[in-house]
């Protein structure tokens, strides 16, 4: 299972690509595989203030529905409108075109590096 080394991760199977105080956020290939075919994504609106660990959206697959958690504190500055019309991209390209939203980070908190995340999913 792919775990790109340059990204940060959460135990809720989300990835963050940090660029200054802007974080691009998505779900990992492990999460996408566990969900099955994603058919619907509900994202927080631009301008929403989110808190780490709290639900800010949802991802629905044929099999189940999962909350989308905010991985860090911040303000939503951009959402990926393309995934709303084509949610299946979360399965085919979770780390690139399947990104979900961008946050202006106010508090980064504790995140996992790729090695820590890999050992987390290896143990599941």
């Amino acid at each position: 299972m792919s775990v790109p080394a340059h990204l940060k991760y959460t135990a809720e199977h989300e990835w963050l690509d940090l660029d200054g105080d802007i974080a691009t956020i998505g779900i990992t290939a492990f999460a996408a595989d566990a969900l099955g075919d994603v058919v619907y994504v509900d994202l927080p609106a631009t301008g929403t203030i989110v808190t780490a660990g709290e639900a800010c959206g949802e991802i629905e697959s044929t099999k189940s529905v999962s909350d989308l958690f905010a991985p860090v504190d911040g303000e939503v500055v951009e959402t990926n409108e393309a995934v709303a019309s084509e949610p299946g991209v979360l399965n085919t390209d979770p780390f690139q075109s399947g990104w979900l939203f961008r946050l202006k980070v106010s508090d980064l908190g504790e995140l996992l590096d790729a090695a820590a995340y890999e050992s987390l999913i290896g143990g599941e």
Binding site: G36, V39, Y40, E60, T62, K63, V65
Partner: protein, 372 residues
């Protein structure tokens, strides 16, 4: 006799699933393939061509002897002693209070030989109940789960695929019939049954022949569009076909009448059967809640356990048992138990979808019916 299972709980096809890069899930203690490629692609393949399923986790129980049919008449709500040889019937095992212990398929293989196929998660309670119920009859019960690998080929191309590997005249094998056959050189029981809403076959073969049967079916099936199919698409297929799933639509808390399956209860039998008195009372009183279909034009699906609400008062009038976005229909579908009075097709209701009320309409299942 033992009711314990192998500790590994891998089917004889486990290595094949690994080779096909399946994702696995634990299902009733078995490690089963949930998907090989994509839930939706596998689902669509079954609707348009064919899918190949490993169902070796299902429980097979054999009942033999001069009174095997009578023993099953007493144990089940159906009338197996009236089954013609080579025919199958959908039936149920009920508690004395009428609650459903399992839904199962009974095959009559010979005058004195029956095969009862139980849900994987219910094999132990079914065996326990059957053992108690057949003791006073001249019949022998045997857990044959590990004698059989079970492979299903389901979809409009199923007959064309299976016919390439057998001399059995498939046109003679009617829906819900079973025959001894030779398939890809192996002796099998070939049944025209399934759980997808499509034409198809369920193939009972010996475990040591399972890999050969599986790979031969894939080989001859590939040009017909056959793909291996996992449990995830099996669930959306059966939901579209309006087929109940034990643990969701069926449980010890409901009788066949609430589930809309009162027709499976044979009250005209010569002998008393377990649950008959309670079921007669429930039949005469009429159900207080009924299983219905729900459709939504929204994007979010009602899911198991979500509340169904009266749009007028906001009162809870039911509960969803299964729900998913329908790959064939392109909108969410669900089954739910609703109070009598809210069960008529066309009734507009709400479902509480994680805090938001979405509109749904009551329909009579199935949601999907194959072209004949």
């Amino acid at each position: 006799m033992t009711t314990s299972h192998d500790k590994s709980r891998q089917t004889p096809l486990y290595a094949e699933h690994q080779r096909l890069s399946a994702s696995f899930t634990d299902f009733a203690g078995w490690s089963m393939p949930v998907r090989y490629s994509s839930d939706i692609a596998e689902h669509i393949a079954v609707r348009t061509a064919a899918g190949l399923f490993d169902l070796s986790h299902m429980g097979e129980i054999e009942l033999t002897g001069p009174q095997a049919g009578l023993a099953l008449d007493h144990a089940l709500v159906g009338h197996p002693s009236k089954l013609a040889i080579g025919r199958a019937r959908y039936s149920m095992l009920c508690d004395p209070d009428g609650g459903i212990l399992d839904d199962l398929v009974v095959y009559r293989l010979a005058e004195e030989r029956f095969l009862v196929v139980a849900n994987a998660g219910n094999v132990d309670p079914v065996l326990e109940a059957l053992e108690q119920r057949v003791t006073s009859y001249d019949a022998q019960l045997r857990d044959a789960t590990h004698d059989w690998a079970l492979i299903a080929v389901q979809g409009p191309a199923a007959a064309a695929i299976v016919s390439e590997l057998t001399d059995t005249e498939l046109a003679e094998l009617k829906y819900y019939a079973i025959a001894e056959a030779t398939l890809a050189g192996s002796d099998v029981l070939l049944a025209r049954t399934g759980y997808t809403g499509e034409d198809g076959f369920e193939i009972y073969g010996r475990p040591e022949h399972a890999e050969h049967l599986w790979t031969e079916l894939l080989r001859v099936g590939e040009p017909h569009g056959l793909v291996p199919a996992g449990l995830a698409c099996r669930d959306t297929l059966r939901l579209e076909a309006g087929m109940p799933l034990y643990g969701h639509e069926l449980s010890r808390d409901v009788t066949p009448f609430e589930a809309g399956l009162g027709r499976v209860v044979a009250f005209g039998k010569e002998i008393a059967f377990v649950g008959d008195q309670a079921l007669a009372v429930r039949r005469d009183a009429g159900p207080r809640r009924l299983l219905v279909g729900l459709v939504s034009s929204g994007r979010r699906s009602p899911r198991s356990g979500y509340s169904v609400l009266d749009p007028g008062t906001g009162a809870v009038v039911g509960s969803v048992t299964s729900g998913a976005p329908s790959p064939t229909l392109g909108h969410p579908i669900a089954m739910a138990y609703v109070n009598v009075g809210f069960d008529q097709p066309g009734t507009q209701l709400h479902v509480d979808i994680r805090g938001t009320r979405d509109d749904v309409e009551v329909v009579a299942p199935p949601f999907y019916r194959r072209a004949q």
